[in-house]
Structures are given as structure tokens and as C-alpha cells.
Symmetry: D2
Subunit: 286 residues, 4 copies
């Protein structure tokens, strides 16, 4: 049980000799990350949507067109896929990156994709607008250091069992390297509950925003693991104050190579977008 007054609001931040760059005390305004004119952390809610993994040209383009039509601004899609089992589909890799390029050209959407290895940084940077660092790599410190040297926006996902302080320390690695274009993303934490894939921790959104000037988005797809829960939790994320969403969409979830259970179809995604517009207006966002 913690703070009642403003002066007590940092119970989980231990003092470090240097002022941590991610903290509010280090900066007097909100960070707004600019991705080719799309502002993340401003008044507008930004939705990133697309398949878990890039599977084929047809798959990617059909999804990209659909999510754009519904109002998404950024296309997500994994080319390099971290998978629990070495025998699962590992992504199309460079071929996938090229398809993301193609989808960007065709639709005008910006692109976010994951980089798993510092040795892939150049090639991934050449094809993406936002670099994603995944949950399993949140404390891959040498990767964070290299990504910190890039001048490209970064989407840093929270680790599965990372405390919020550890999460902000991981973002500090990026900012210490000189990269101040960092977007945080709550995506569910590991708990004892087994009926959902993870427990989406929406407490994290206001707690992070109280401590840091960085934008915070939410991934309700991984946060629940069930497509039918995604629109509900997406609405909640907007209501709690998130700056955006990261959502998995697939035209044929039942045959997706990964994460089909948690992927919305384009019609479901379109309905979700209508609802979150209304919720955003109710809390003073667009």
C-alpha cells in the first residue's frame, strides 16, 4: 500500500546517481514519437494492427488493406519470430521484411516489426519504420544498447515477469544510447491464472505514465490470448489512458501459422475500431 500525496508517488524507483532519462523529472514535457507524421503520445489514439507473422504477399496485403480501411495507421507483422519451440515456424525473415516494404508502398501504412538480434539491425532498419524489441528480449541488454544507437523509433514490449521498475530500466538502456523515440507497450504478465494466456496489467498504464514521459500503448491480443476478448480489453485500454493499441488481425485465423486464437478477423477489427472511437471521445481523446 503506497502513496497518498504527490511527493510519495515513486515508491518503486530506487535512487540512482544519474537522473534517469526515462523519468518525468528528467524532462518537462511528454515525449511524442513521430513516425512519418503519425504522432504517438499525442491527443490521437494510434492503432497498430496486422498479422502475428508475415506469411505471404497475399496474406499481408489483404490484411494491410483491411486494417487501413478501418482506421489503423501502422501495420504490424513479424518477419523474425521468437518461438518457444525450435520446431515452430520461425518467420519468413528477410523475405518477410520485403513483403512489409511492399505493403507499406501499397497502402501508405507505416510499419513496425521485431528485431531479435543485433546482427540483423541494419537489414531490419532498412525495411521498418519502428523497431520492435519483444518481451523475451526486454533484458537482452546488448540488443538494447545497439538499438539505442539507432535513430529509429522503438517499440519496447514489457517482459513477461518484468516489474515496472525493471521495464523503465530497460527503456533507460535505449535512451542512454541516445535514442529518445521510445514507445512502451503493456502486453500482459505471467500469473497463476490459466484461463487467459497472460493477465493484462492495465494498472501499468497510469503507473507508467505517472513516472515516465514516454508514450504507452497496450497489446490486448497477447494480453488475453483470446480473439473474442480483444475488443473488450482494447476499450478498457483506451479508457485507462493508453496512447494506442497493438492488435493482431488475420483474414483466416483458423489457418494462421501462429497466434490464430488471438487474431481478430477484419470485420471484428472494424467493429472494435468503432467502439474504441466512442470510448476515446468519452475520455477526451481522438
Amino acid at each position: 500500500m503506497k502513496d497518498v500525496t504527490i511527493s510519495e508517488v515513486e515508491p518503486f524507483i530506487k535512487t540512482d546517481p544519474p537522473v534517469r532519462l526515462v523519468l518525468r523529472r528528467a524532462k518537462d514535457r511528454e515525449t511524442v514519437v513521430d513516425v512519418k507524421g503519425i504522432e504517438i503520445g499525442g491527443r490521437e489514439i494510434v492503432v497498430m494492427a496486422g498479422p502475428c507473422a508475415v506469411e505471404s504477399e497475399e496474406q499481408l496485403l489483404s490484411i494491410a488493406r483491411a486494417v487501413k480501411a478501418s482506421g489503423a495507421r501502422i501495420l504490424r507483422g513479424g518477419a523474425f519470430k521468437p518461438r518457444t519451440s525450435p520446431y515452430s515456424f520461425q518467420g519468413l525473415k528477410e523475405e518477410g521484411l520485403k513483403l512489409l516494404d511492399l505493403a507499406r508502398t501499397e497502402t501508405g501504412l507505416a510499419v513496425v516489426t521485431e528485431v531479435m538480434d543485433a546482427r540483423h539491425l541494419d537489414v531490419v532498419c532498412a525495411h521498418t519504420d519502428i523497431l520492435q524489441v519483444g518481451s523475451r528480449n526486454m533484458q537482452n541488454f546488448t540488443l538494447l544498447e545497439e538499438v539505442g544507437k539507432c535513430r529509429k523509433p522503438v517499440l519496447l514490449k514489457r517482459g513477461m515477469s518484468a516489474t515496472l521498475d525493471e521495464y523503465l530500466q530497460a527503456a533507460e538502456y535505449l535512451m542512454k544510447g541516445g535514442n529518445d523515440q521510445v514507445i512502451l507497450c503493456e502486453r500482459g504478465i505471467r500469473t497463476f491464472e490459466t484461463s487467459t494466456r497472460n493477465t493484462l496489467d492495465l494498472n501499468a498504464v497510469p503507473m507508467l505514465k505517472r513516472h515516465t514521459h514516454l508514450p504507452v500503448i497496450v497489446d490486448p491480443s497477447h494480453g488475453t490470448g483470446h480473439w473474442w476478448m480483444v475488443p473488450r480489453l482494447a476499450s478498457a485500454a483506451i479508457a485507462v489512458g493508453a496512447d494506442g493499441l497493438l492488435v493482431e488481425v488475420h483474414c483466416h485465423p483458423e489457418s494462421a501459422l501462429s497466434d490464430g486464437q488471438q487474431s481478430l478477423t477484419p470485420p471484428d477489427f472494424d467493429r472494435m475500431m468503432k467502439t474504441i472511437r466512442a470510448v476515446a471521445a468519452a475520455v477526451g481523446r481522438q
Copy 2:
């Protein structure tokens, strides 16, 4: 990772010989709990608000009038208090119950208060409109059996580390006893994260509502432990589909005998009510 199709939506329900009364398959419509004309589980969002503990006549009446003015329908207040330490304030007990009676008469609000012991059931029943069974007693099975024999609405809070299946089994104890006026309440679960008192599990709301016909409300006060987070998580709870809220309010949180850190002042509560009205409208509720 679980279900894609409707037929697979019950991954965490193990089959039991009798049809469990809490499950949707046992009943063809939603349960709406009627508390002196206030319907919980209907189209209207119902807000229960008040102090953690009843402390005095003046304290209780001032809070009761304030929350009523802002739109709360039900007054919460603890007379018997379960406390981690035996040296903490344990509640005013029967004196507290009488003050709740007084507040009901003065304001017309209905009342919810906790029963900790089967031996207190008669006296608590005589003074309350809803019996609360607290998190620490969610698996106090003999208490559940006795409460199940009452013909009084019950607010059953989720245990701190109860799976949703265990939670529904606890509700089954109440229903098996013949009491079908059961309200569920998500109030945060215990995780590794220490910056918040608990991790509010909003995934639980749509998951519970998929499996049970019972109404589900949310307690953002215990779910966060920080008063300044409560309005945000209250909005999220409404957006995710909750049927109501349970919120701690105190006119002087800094001198509250318990849970001051997570109690809203009446002006903050009033602002919160305005916001959740807008959010409720955005998701088709009142």
C-alpha cells in the same frame, strides 16, 4: 493459448457430474440481482461507494450524503474488518452495523457490508441489504454454506490468488445452498508486481461473463491501492463490461483508520462518476 471457436470456450471448466448452477448452460438468461429495486446486472451501471471501515456517525453520514449526491446507489462500509495484523483496527462491529442502518434511513441508499463469521450472520443480515463475503473468505466453505441458506443478495469477492474456476466453484457453494442472488467482484490478484497493491485483472470480467450468468462488478480501490489510479481503472472496468463498481471514498483519507491511500475524496469521486457516465454511454450502458 486457447479457444478459437465458441465450442471451445470453456477450457478451464472441468466437467462435474451435476450441471454447475453458476454456468450459462444451467440458465437461459442473465441473473439480475434486485436490491430494493436497484438492479445489478441489468443495463444500468450500479456504483457502490463508501468508506473502507465505518468509523463514526459523522464520518459515515458525510460520506453517504456525498456519494449519493454524485450518483452512487449503494453504500459500502465495513463493520467487521478482516485485518492482517491482530493489532490493527478491527471495526466497530455491531455499533458499525447500527450506523449503517442510520445512514440508510437518512439517505435512502441501500447498504453492503461484510460478514466474516457464520455466527454473526443473523445480526449482519438484520442491518444490511447485501452480504459481502471478502477475499480472504472466498474459500471459507462453511461460511459460504451458511450464506447460501440466506435469502439476501451476496457480493462474493474473488480470492487474492483464486483462479476463475475456483471462484466460480465458490459461487457454486452459495447457489447450491439455494441463494441465487450472487454478485461477483474482481478486486485484483496477487502477482510479482510491487508498485501496486494488487494487479487488477480486467481479463476476468469478459471471461467470467462468458461462463456465468451472474453479474460482475469491479473494485478498483483494492485493485490498485492508489487513490489517483482509481478513476482510470474504474473507467476501464466499465469499458470492459463490468456491471458496476465498488469504490472506497473518505472525506479525510489522510486520517482514515484503514485504506486511506486508496480512498477517493468526494470531489474526486464526483469527477469519476461524470467520466464513467460518458464511458458507459460509449459502450451502450447507462
Copy 3:
């Protein structure tokens, strides 16, 4: 990360105005609980063994004779059973207590059995040598208060998600009532790991013993959920410094009415006893 020096060894104990009776600073020697001449918390390791639930005279007596022959000093057996589902076997209740009496007379073993409800205290006290308060009731404070008034040794099991500080506070309820014959029991905590029923927290044994003078035993049956793991974890419990064990034994685990998966057969139990004797000697215990 915590203490290096003795002066820092109580990081999780918050200061309370009264000296907490459970803490070492309140007493200058170890508490040794005397159960009809059997000393728990002394140099000898004490093993409590028996079925999860008392099922019949034949079942109970055959197990009691077997565990006595292998060296157990105390017979465990549930008459009142807390069960997750109301449709599961709830125990033989008073009939079960009478069978425990019979087994005591026949074998000379002392008896430990659970009390779930303050209203049963008199009858349970009349038939048992040690009162057990189960994990689900660790924070059933009114039960703790009543048990605290008895002059009968108490075995207080740790709650499934109780911190060690909360656990010691629960024991304080017993001691504050005047009952200083309290035995603590680590029985596994709830974590994300699903391959075992619980995660046995053997760290708890030295941490508890550093802070309290009360004896600490371990329940490897609930702590693992798998009979074939029990002997291994029992050895580990002795090696880590536990004062005793609580172990489930059944002559026919495959037809046990509860917890068969985690029950040892008498021959397996006998082998386990031989191993733990050797381990006890290795760490200077009997």
C-alpha cells in the same frame, strides 16, 4: 536483494507498536510444542502421516499401523474437508473424528485433524491432539481468534499466496489469544508453474526460523502434488532445517477419495523414512 548483516535481517517485518509475540525478539528460546510427550521443535524430526481424508475404519487403521511401523509419531487424517467444489467428498465429519479416536487407541499415535469452523471447535478438540488450521483458512481471523483461546497445539498451514509476514501475522492472532503451542507448516505456494500442484517454498524454512521461535514443518505432498516427488522433497525439507514433515499416505492411492495422486503407499513411505533418517543425521538431527 536484502540483508548482509544480522542487524538487517528483518526486511519484511514492519514495526508494530506492540512487540509481536511470534518474533524471536519476544522470546529468548525456541518454542518446543509438546504433544503428549512428542516434542516438535526439538532435536528430533517428527513425522505426521496418514490419509488426506478419513474414509473408513479399515482404511484408517491399516494406514495408521503402517505409518507407525515406519516411524511416524502422529497420525494425520481429515474429517472435515475443505473442497474446491461443493460436489466433491466433504469428509465423514463427526464419524471421521470417532475413527481417529479409535486409531489413536489402537496404535498409540497422536492425532492431528483440521477444524474448518469455530462452531466445530469443541467437538474437534475432544477428538484430536493437534488442531490443524488449513491454508484456505489462514486468514479466517475469527477462526484464528477462537483457536487462540484453546489450550491445544495448533498446526497453522501457510496460505496459498500468503507472504511470510502475513503468515507470521496469522500466527500472531493465535498467540495473542494465549495459545503459544503453534506449529508452522510450509505447504507450497501458488506460482505460474503448472507441472506441479504448488511450488514448495523451502526458502521459507530458514527465513521463518530466523524470525520466529516457533517450530516449522513441511508438507511435501501438497507442495508437489505428485507422490513420486514426495520422498525427494521430504529429504530436502529435512536438509533445509525443517522440524518435521506432514505426509499423505494411502494403502490404495488409485481409489482414494481425495489426493490419491500425491499419496505414498506404505512401502514407499517406509523407504522415505529410511532416507530421511540418513539426511537428518547428516545435518545433525535425529
Copy 4:
């Protein structure tokens, strides 16, 4: 709650098309990892000890000589250090590797040190006898793939919130690459308990050994976070069936650059070694 019979012992292993190389069914005997004549996974318990981080020649050599004198066979010491904060000491890097070489030459101990980045593999391999992959990198799949191509024993630590199935899948990445010299290491998991740094999961040892032919060791230093608990948990680890230990030792813990709180002094380490020899004998090991 799970298996009673052998045929049911793999409840957490989902079937994969290829036979997983880490599983017992893929190999008919135990894997014994040979490190310059030291056998890990055989009858003898192997102790790896040394400082958290290599700090200086004098620091490392004094510790190395001390742990050797007490019976350790392998020297641990971090040159590349993964640290939560970018402002904490990050290790001596290549200079640290050279000091490990020197300590090996001086003492004849084998050496284990962590590799954090595939780009450092050549230089780390040139100076170590065992490559350590740390907890934060347990699912750094591209690192696992590269380490899998080395012909050097690997110590793979369990991730902070990795299930045992995920852990075995991570080991599969190594084995699929052709490296069958893999040692597993339980080092504590993240739970709600805050009085210890982690919760050492000794259940993991028999559960892993039931499913895999790989050797399993235990790190009681990280598993507890308190030096005074380490000898107790080390004894428990041997009693539960571990094949070895990984222990932090420092001559001046109070001035250590990292993890001083959990480091034993050489005299404490020496006492610990005497105790575990007795425990090992009690469970039929050397």
C-alpha cells in the same frame, strides 16, 4: 494435480512432431557432461563457485584458491554482466576473461562464464570451459542457436518466469544445433514473496530429471538472495537430487561490486562443503 502412474508422467509436455532431443524418450541413458575430466551428471556432486563478477586479479585469485581448497571443481565469474540498470557495473569484459584464464592456470580449476551476445562467442569460447547462458537470455533464441553450434559445454539457466516446458524447449534449441553438452540450472523463480530475492523451486529438480537425461544443478545464491540461507538451500538441493551447485563466493562481500548480499565468505563456503558432503553421502552421492 497430476500423474499417479508412469504412463502419465508428462502432463506438461505437448506433443511435437519431431521427438524432442532433450526428452528421455530420445536417449536411453543419462547425459554426463565432461569438462576436462570433470563429470557433471555422474555420481559425484560438482560444485562451481566464485564471485558474481570478476573485479580484479587479486580478488579473483584469492577466491579461486579458497574455493579450490574447499573442494570446488569449477570457478565461476562474470566478465560480461547483465545488469538491470545501465548505470550499474557491467563487468570487466575481455579483461575479465583474461583474468579467468590466469586463475585457471594458477589453480587448475575449470572455468564457467556467461556469454550475453552471439558476437562475443569466439572470444568467450577462447577463455572458458563452460559457456553460461543467463536467465534473462533463456529465450534469446538467436543466441541459443549460435551457442548450439559450439562444441563447448553449456550451462543454461532457467528464466525467471519460465515454465519447465519452456525451459526444456530452450535447451532443445541448443541440442537441435548439435550441442548435446547441456547442463540445466534451477536458480529461483519470480513469485509474490518479497522476503527472498527469488523462490528457489526445488520441485524443478526431480521434475526435470524425470523428463530429461540432462544434468541439473542448483544456484542457491540467486535462489535466495541471502548469503546466510545459501548453505541450507545447498544442502536441500543435494538432498533433492541435484548433480551440482553454482555458488557465489567473495572474500569481502560487503565491498563486492555486485551480489555481495548473497555471497559466502571462504570460511562459510568451507563449512557448507563439509555439510553437503554428509548430505550427499546420505542420498547415495559423493
